[in-house]
């Protein structure tokens, strides 16, 4: 469903991604690992269309749609969901109104009927339960005064509500304790299905004990330099990235 071909991107005119290729089929979970500065977060930001992250070559297509030509919200309508590494606060904007507006906009643009208010409320409460958040949480401002763990769980909550085709998790595990990690992983696992793909970007192998990937890729200096099964992650954990970089060089 997702096809990234020869993607090049730069930030502040500095080349970060230098010809990245990745193909994700429906139902698959791909993990992307790599040392600091390899370009992991740039990849997710370029896919999402964050201002300042410019693709200078190549393509990113989701079910045949070239995402790079679209506005960020149009990418969302195409089915892309980005779980942020550092979710920002929206002071005074309650989770409830934010979710409702987002669900309605997505449904409308995907040609699906939006749930009526009772159905929406029910779904929102269920999603809260799923990520172990008190429903009162829906009344609070988006990420306003949230702990790191709450912010990450909120990301998963939004993911559940928006039912995307492709989920990109950008270091969702960083800053989480084991309990919170378990909750996040459970949320993700519950979303796994034959018609949905996942790209899990992480610095630590730990997350992959909970979300077991089908494929693991090593990103270094803007390219994927090695791919393998979930066993590759364990090898990385044990031996670090140096040996692969040497092997490739």
């Amino acid at each position: 469903m997702l096809s990234i071909e020869n993607l090049q991107a730069s930030v502040d005119e500095k080349a970060i991604l230098k010809g990245l290729n990745l193909s994700v089929g429906a139902g698959e979970v791909h993990a992307i690992m790599g040392p600091n500065g390899a370009g992991k977060s740039t990849l997710s930001n370029v896919m999402g269309g964050r201002p300042g992250y410019e693709a200078t070559g190549g393509s990113v297509t989701l079910d045949g749609v070239n995402l790079l030509e679209l506005e960020p919200e149009e990418r969302a309508y195409a089915g892309l969901f980005l779980a942020f590494q550092y979710p920002v606060e929206l002071p005074g904007v309650s989770n409830m109104e934010f979710l409702k507006a987002a669900v309605e906009a997505n449904c409308e643009n995907r040609g699906v009927e939006a749930p009526n208010t009772p159905a929406f409320l029910k779904a929102a409460r269920e999603a809260c339960a799923q990520v172990n958040l008190n429903p009162d949480f829906l009344k609070r401002g988006v990420n306003e005064g949230f702990s790191g763990g709450e912010r990450k769980r909120n990301e998963i909550l939004q993911m559940i509500m928006l039912q995307p085709k492709l989920c990109v998790l950008d270091e969702t595990d960083s800053g989480l304790d084991i309990d919170a990690l378990q909750v996040v992983a459970d949320g993700v696992n519950s979303m796994r299905s034959d018609d949905r793909g996942f790209v899990v970007i992480t610095h630590y192998q730990r997350l992959l004990d909970y979300i077991v990937p089908d494929f693991v890729h090593v990103l270094s200096d803007g390219k994927i330099i090695k791919s393998g099964g979930s066993e590759l992650a364990l090898e990385l954990e044990k031996n670090g990235y140096g040996w692969i970089e040497q092997e490739v060089a």
Binding site: G48, G49, R50, P51, G52, E71, P72, E73, R75, A76, Y77, L80, F81, L82, F84, P87, V88, E89, L90, P91, G92, V93, S94, E97, F98, A101, A102, A105, N106, N109, G141, Q158, L162
Partner: protein, 483 residues
């Protein structure tokens, strides 16, 4: 400046939905201002001698005053001789007796603005409306129902005739004739406005509301509103304002006086959406308004809430004089400026009584090439033992061609008083916009959501149905803002 912000500002010069002109025949005074003008206005309204005297005294004083220049606004000086000081739709001069007498063209105007005057069309019994079109009051709804409760709600011109003792007793007691240049002018030439009297112990059974509209060209609107809540009474009042789009500037110089006796409560809300002028700053209303409440009695409570999105220039400081012991003053404000709007607005809290308390929450949003300025005074007199004030002023900037300013004056002369002031400035960040967009919200919706969130503390203070209206107004004002 980021691209998205640029786009917000490019399209911020939004359509002004209330900008149409109503085609009615007017009975207007020719432009110009002298003693005869004052006499003519008074005569047109068949006023008693004492009120004419009062007006003439104000006019004599006004001639000795000069326009204030300390506000953070700049504009071409007004030619007071080029304005007309009275304009009424033909045949409405004396005020219509019933809706049937109102020009259907005017009724359609209000339908278009979303303010149906037929009572059955309003939610039953929720809000009573007084409607002021240019210089005269057109219609007041639910008068009978209010009368049952002993509440007087009528045009002030009518109150002068029917309740002269009340008008005489209170008019000019909070904002004296010589208070300031514009208030003084208003005292000389005021045309109409609302009068509210809530007798002892009565809680007004419904929201009261006045809707002001300037229609005629080159006309100044000088309404005068007087609200009195006797011992233990309470009332919630809302005013709304619009004007057609015209290239010339229109002047609006109103005076509002509130008086709360022992244990009385007055809540005054404003949704101000006068025409702001075009992108180049041509036209628009000069909104030079004096609003002041007097907490005269013990435990009295006056609360101002304002949502200001219109006007080319706003000069307005709804204030509370806290004279009664334990009295409470509040000011909640949202001021949005865009295009080339200039707003210099804020409040004054004058603490005189013991244990008086005041709260000021001000939210300023500036975009495009506008200037948004908070100016506030908290004064604690030596007599104000135990006075407390808390002030919070937040500014939100959209783009780097606008200005946001904060000028708080704090004067304390009592050592048992505690005054706290906090101010901050922030912007709609690219990260916030991106998060919203990634979740499928277009930037326009995202900005309006973030701005609404920023204003939440103030919207909470508005009467329920107006809070929704205010939110929508803000949304419309920001609409078409992002491509």
């Amino acid at each position: 400046m980021s691209e998205s912000v640029e786009r917000i500002n490019e399209r911020l010069a939004s359509d002004y939905e209330a900008g149409f002109v109503t085609d009615v025949e007017n009975d207007s005074l020719p432009p110009g201002l002298d003693e005869d003008t004052v006499r003519a206005i008074s005569a047109r309204k068949n006023e008693p001698e004492w009120l004419l005297e009062w007006r003439l005294k104000a006019f004599a004083k006004w001639k000795t005053l000069t326009e204030p220049e300390w506000a953070h606004v700049s504009y071409q000086k007004i030619d007071f001789q080029a304005l007309s000081y009275y304009s009424a739709p033909k045949g409405q001069g004396d005020g219509p007796k019933s809706l049937d007498e109102v020009d259907p063209e005017i009724l359609r105007t209000y339908e278009k603005l979303g303010i149906p005057l037929h009572e059955q069309k309003r939610l039953a019994g929720v809000v009573a409306v007084d409607v002021v079109f240019d210089s005269v009051s057109i219609h007041t709804t639910f008068k009978d129902k209010l009368a049952e409760a002993g509440v007087i709600f009528c045009p002030i011109s009518e109150a002068v005739k029917d309740h002269p003792e009340l008008v005489k007793k209170y008019l000019g007691t909070v904002v004296p004739i010589s208070d300031n240049f514009y208030a003084c002018l208003n005292s000389a030439v005021f045309s109409d406005g609302s009068f509210v009297f809530i007798p002892k112990g009565v809680t007004c059974p419904m929201e009261l509301s006045t809707y002001f509209r300037i229609n005629a060209m080159n006309t100044g609107q000088f309404e005068r509103t007087l609200i009195i809540a006797e011992e233990g009474a309470s009332v919630s009042y809302l005013e709304g304002c619009t004007a057609p789009m015209r290239d010339e500037n229109q002047l609006h110089a109103a005076v509002v006086e509130l008086i709360a006796l022992d244990d009385a409560k007055i809540k005054y809300s404003t949704v101000q959406n006068w025409y702001m002028g075009d992108e180049e700053g041509r036209g628009g209303v000069y909104n030079f308004v004096t609003k002041r409440g007097l907490c005269k009695g013990r435990n009295s409570h006056i609360s101002w809430t304002q949502v200001e999105t219109g006007s080319a220039i706003t000069w307005k400081y709804p204030s509370v004089v806290l004279r009664g012991d334990n009295s409470i003053g509040e000011f909640y404000s949202v001021a949005l400026t865009r295009g080339r709007q200039q707003a210099d607005t804020g409040t004054k809290m004058i603490h005189m009584g013991k244990n008086t308390r005041s709260t000021i929450i001000s939210k300023g949003i500036s975009a495009a090439r506008s200037e948004n300025c908070y100016r506030g005074l908290v004064r604690v007199a030596p007599t104000a033992e135990g006075a407390r004030n808390f002030t919070q002023c937040d500014s939100l900037l959209i783009g780097d061609t606008c200005g946001a300013h904060t000028f708080p004056y704090i004067e304390s002369r009592n050592n048992s008083a505690v005054i706290e002031h906090e101010a901050s400035t922030s912007k709609v960040s690219d990260d916030q916009l991106f998060l919203c967009q990634q979740r499928g919200l277009d930037p326009e919706k995202a900005v309006s959501m973030i701005v609404n969130g920023f204003c939440k503390e103030v919207f909470r203070e508005l009467p329920m149905e107006f809070a929704v209206e205010a939110g929508k107004l803000l949304e419309i004002s920001l609409e078409g803002s992002v491509g």
